[in-house]
Symmetry: C2
Amino acid sequence: MSLSKLIGVRTDEVQAKRERRKEARPGELLDAALDLFVEKGFAATRAEEVAARAGVSKGTLFLYFPSKEELFKAVVRENISGRFKEWNEEFQAFEGTTAEMVRACMTIWWERVGATKASGITKLIISEARNFPDIAAFYQQEVIAPGQDLVRRILKRGMDRGEFRVLDLDYATFSITAPMVFLIMMKHSLGACIPQDYPLDPQRYIASQVDLLLDGLQVRK
Amino acid sequence: MSLSKLIGVRTDEVQAKRERRKEARPGELLDAALDLFVEKGFAATRAEEVAARAGVSKGTLFLYFPSKEELFKAVVRENISGRFKEWNEEFQAFEGTTAEMVRACMTIWWERVGATKASGITKLIISEARNFPDIAAFYQQEVIAPGQDLVRRILKRGMDRGEFRVLDLDYATFSITAPMVFLIMMKHSLGACIPQDYPLDPQRYIASQVDLLLDGLQVRK
DNA sequence: GTTACATTACTAACCAGTCAGTCATTAATT
DNA sequence: AATTAATGACTGACTGGTTAGTAATGTAAC
C-alpha cells in the first residue's frame, strides 16, 4: 500500500506513485494489450502504449513478457478458457426442444462471450491470422474446433429427434457460427468506428437470425 | 550498379531491365499493394515490398503515390466499383421466384466478387477500420449501404409477392450478408493460413446457406 | 541532347528491447 | 520504536535496427 493512500492524499491529480504490485501487473498488462491489439492491430500498437495504459513504464512490460510477440501470444492464451466441457454438459442436460436449444445457444453465447472483452480475441485472430499462423492454428484447435463440435452436436440432436430436416452437418454449422462471427466483427470493427451507421442491436439481431434459421424465409404452405 | 552488370553477366534471367511504362505502373502498384495489405495488414507491409512485387524500386512507388496512406486509400478506391446500378437493373429484370433470386444473388456475388481479388478489400476494411475511420465510413457509404439496399429490395419483393413471410427487413438482410462476409474472412484469414483445417468449398457452403435460409432448419409439418 | 521516368543512396523518425540506477518495502538490528 | 541494511520491482534514457520518404544520379526514349 502506498504512502499517499495511507495518509489519504488525493492521488488523482498528483503524479501516480511508484508501487510494487508484482501479482497484479501481468493481468493488467494483458488487459491493456488486448484492448489495444483489438483496436489497432498487432503491428500498429506500441509496447510503450500498452505499458502506459497499464499504468506502468515500458521497462516493466519487458520484465513480465520477453517480447511483444510473446505478449501477443499470452493475450490470446489468457482468453482461451476451456469452457467447452462445462457447456457440453449444460447442453447434455437440456430438456427442451432443439429449436429452443439453438436459441439458447446463441443468446447465452452473446451474453458470456460476444458481449465481453473475450470476443475481441476473435477479431484479433481473424485480423492477424496470416501474420501469426501458429497462433491461428492453436486458436483453431482450442476454440473453433470445439465450438463447431458443440454446434454440430446440437444440430445432430435436432436431426435424431426428427425436429430438424436432414442436414449437411459439415456446412450447416456455419449457419450458426457465421452470424456470431459477423456480429463480433461489427462490434469491434465497423460498428466501433462508425456507430451512427450501425445502430445494431445485438439482441434483435440474434432474434432475427434465429427466427430465420429455424423457419426459413419462405411462407409455410 | 550490381557486380553482375559490371562484369557483363547475362542479366535477362537475373533481373528485368529498366523500363519506362508510365501508364501501367499505378495499376501494377495497386495490385501488388492490395495483395500485401490483405495478407499482412497496413502497418506490417513495407513500401519497398510493394514496389518489389510490382517489379519496381521503392522510389518509383513514391513517384506515383505521395505516401503509404494515400496508396492505401487509392487501393480501396480503385476497388470500389459502382456496379450496383447495373446489378439493380439485372434484378429489376429478373422474372423467376424470389427464392431463385436469392440463390442467384449469392452465387453470382461469389463469382463476381467473393472469388476475385476484390473480396480482399472487404477483409482489409474490416481489419483496418479502426485505424482508418474515414476510409471505413467511405466504404460504408459506397459499398455496404448500396449492398444492403439491394438485398433489402430482394427480400421486400419476396414479401410483396407473398413468397416470403413478414420480415424485420432491417435485420433480415444480415441473414444474407453475414454468410458472405464470413466466407470472405475465411478465404483471406484462417482459411488462407490453415487450409488443412478449413477445406471449405465455397459452392457447397453457399448452397447450404441458401437452402437453410429459404426453408429453415425445422421439418415442415 | 533533352526530357521523363526510374534507381540508388541517403536521412530522419520511430520503436522494440536493454540496462544502470532508483526507491518503496521489508527484515534485521539496536 | 527507531534506525539501518538488503531486496527487487520499477523506471526511463539509451541503442541498434528498421523503414517511410527524399534527393542525387542514371538511363531509356524521342
